[in-house]
Symmetry: D2
Subunit: 282 residues, 4 copies
């Protein structure tokens, strides 16, 4: 396995897209040395965005958590999350009625900010749903799985309702050697039971990369796709999605993909990163 | 749609296999007139078995519920359930250690009867699992979905454990226009998250029909496959499974498959029953 | 089923995205009356694009076929095809070496125009593939299925090669009551056999819609997503993709979705168009 | 990885089920030393069967090929193939009409022996199919893939026809580092395009093991499931199927599963063999 130094490649690009978990942080907090990488970006005037399949909080809360840990360069404007993409969808497509949701009040708060009426599945009366046209899967917390997932299945079986999933991940890490089932995994089970098509937002879907690219352009930057590097620890989301969107990609071995099996995984998946680096720390 | 009278065909067979829900009973209890069918079978000396994807109770409890409703012909020996198949597997394959389970104590009680030690996932200490070699998905009740499913995912991720699913159904009816997520649906979600292969027992799998066939032979009967009729309300489980095993099959329109779309469903699925009947009642 | 007149809605939008087959044409040629729709668009100064999962020809050849039939408004610039998206990918990501392909020389010709070296799988020597870094599935014609698909499987099994599929469809209509297997269906079989992840271009993928949207903006138009109407005959590609991208959508009943089952299909799929119209003809 | 000597375990069982490819033979012929294993079985009066997902030939032709190579113990009665299972299905279920097939005349010959009328898809007139009630996928050779697979898709789309797949494998080895697409892979593509349910025969399906078990009993032997050892080189077919049927299982490392990754594959799949042995040779 031919490893490239991250420092040697990062300065060749105008904009960097970073995955969050396994690249900037892990279950113990920020990765050692990642602060230096952001100092380098600042010094060299290289733009960046953090692209994350997270809909449990709004971008300001996500940014605040980096700030608290000392990564002051990651401000709200630097966050691109699947939750933001879902909110944009709802803004465009839901013109009246209420949006039912599975998640915490905090996760719903973010979509309420654009003026949408929301109702938690746990408070919904199944005999009175004519006002509901959309269901949003936001977070795996904030509801009773047994009671509220059965309610969700029955809501979808007999009503014309569009279902939105704000996180394509099946599970997420909560500690060393411990994961939790993500709302993406739960939504997949519900989808198979009701047999309908859900709209899913998150990497590796192209819409996530388009959304980040639009953010990169919004700041007045002129940046071409071949001037952007996508950095991630997971082949099937970060690298596949980046490749498909036409970006150069760097697989880092600080998270999901271990140094011992990176080569095997690349060959067996057919997902080929432009570079493989030990980590994004310098 | 060419309908056949059930009475006119049932007497042509030596043994009848009945699906339970949608054929013998529905959410309101026994189907009207089904008692007469069993009187006819008795009179004509036609053998029968009830084949059900149910692992929430043992066969004696399942039979008792028919008896209470007046269908006295359905005794314990007439029940063939996916739970019984799972118990047979455990008897053959688990020679030591403990079996972890998701379900009620009642569902576990049935597998304890053959001398197996069981432990509910909710009582399991993840730091002390070296005694566990098998996990059984028994029932959707008896545990806290959020807490115990996350625990299950972490148990399976890091240990060499065989997973057994005792019910292949994704959902089951609990009232008119109301279903509940079945343990088969939950197990499928866990399987996709951990990426392992589970052993699943239940229709349409051939093993369920073999098991029923063995029961038919056990009673000293000499019966050939072409002397058996499988009666069910669901194309993808009852009819597909019966056809594959080489049996004649009768689709009844008293449950899952409605008269209005039976013809379309047969054409679109390619699953072709030998007969289509209004119901198994006469 | 509440039908809306296409004429009454089309003038409410600044830009129309049309699916091709089942909307503008069918196996017999252009749909009767579709010419009038394009005259209306011209008169009202409404922009439009034809969005098609077709990689068998370049956009000029696709446009020429409409022109020959009298739809002179459909020029090369109005075509947005999955083949164009694939070519853009190749331009960004393939910087050296050769691109192997399955398809006709005509389909390959289109990607050669941007300076890429191509080699048909049928001419490829499996002992001499170090120059190949990408495989493109272009068309179901132009090669021997048995010989060249086996060759493709062996090429992909032992080499680090990125696979690109330029058409997500499984089949396409060739006559009334007759379809043919599309290169998208063939690619799916190869993908399952080799167990790798392929990059697939075509509706309902968001990248297809962003590509069309970029074309809409390129002409100097200022158009918002909510000023665009996507018109299609297929729920799972046209309508799902348009909805997800944030567009209003019109399902027409002149192709894949028949008037008799439109309502059932919408309810059973959970894919809800903004409007349902008899056809795009006026 | 704790390896067990095959010789030390084989004599503990009354009957051995062997997978063929990767266990008894590979692309170069019989595995070295496998003859001694069969001499031991003979000497110790241990019964055996060869269980193979092969429908390209009948059992006598399959046995003849072992005999030619000197393994004279493998006679026709010792072969249990997915093709035999399919023939049994056809015998039970097809009472009139013709069976269409994809495969060589040789593969069809085997099913013709029981009196069934067959017609190759390549000779079928799509305008005259009312006599056809079943389609059988027999072999990947003997027809023109492009022409005859398109014909198959159109046959199934508009007619009530049961489809039988006689080999569940997606590919099979033809030389060192070379595989060919199996009829099971082709059938899966057709199934997805037409959206129907096919009946599939072959390992790991339980029906294959019950069929072998019935053969074991037919010879007058009294053998219990726990007195049978299933020997295979593939976790997802041989070992999973054997485990599920309640047999002890031995994974051999002479074929599909390499010594270097056996441990990882067992942990990642959750398919746990009773033993792991270097090979079945002694």
């Amino acid at each position: 396995m031919n490893l490239t130094s991250f420092e040697s490649i990062v300065t060749q690009y105008k904009t960097i897209f970073f995955d969050a978990f396994g690249v900037l942080k892990n279950h113990q907090g920020l990765l050692p040395g990642i602060g230096k990488t952001f100092e380098l970006l600042e010094r060299e005037n290289i733009d960046f965005f953090v692209i994350t399949n997270d809909s449990s909080k709004g971008p300001s809360e996500l940014a605040a958590s980096y700030q608290r840990q000392g990564l002051t360069q990651i401000t709200e404007e630097k966050i691109v999350s699947s939750g933001m993409l879902a909110r944009e969808y709802l803004t465009h497509k839901v013109k009246s009625g209420s949006v039912a949701y599975l998640g915490t009040p905090e996760s719903a708060h973010y979509i309420e900010k654009v003026g949408l009426k929301t109702v938690s599945i746990k408070d919904l009366d199944l005999n009175n749903v004519q006002d509901i046209n959309t269901l949003v899967f936001l977070d795996d917390e904030g509801f009773d799985w047994s009671n509220d997932l059965n309610k969700t299945v029955n809501l979808l079986r007999y009503n014309n309702i569009t279902s939105i999933v704000c996180n394509t991940d099946m599970a997420y890490p909560v500690a060393k050697n411990e994961v939790a089932i993500a709302i993406g995994g739960i939504a997949k089970m519900v989808q198979e039971i009701v047999g309908k098509k859900f709209i899913r937002f998150g990497k590796p879907d192209a819409q996530m990369f388009i959304f980040a690219y639009e953010h990169a352009l919004r700041e007045g930057q002129h940046v071409q796709k071949n001037e952007i590097l996508m950095v991630g620890d997971t082949l099937v989301t970060d690298i596949l999605g980046g490749n498909k969107f036409g970006l150069d990609t760097a697989l880092v071995l600080s998270g999901n993909t271990l140094p011992a099996n990176a080569e095997t995984r690349i060959l067996s998946s057919g997902i080929i990163p432009t570079y493989v680096c030990e980590s994004a720390s310098i």
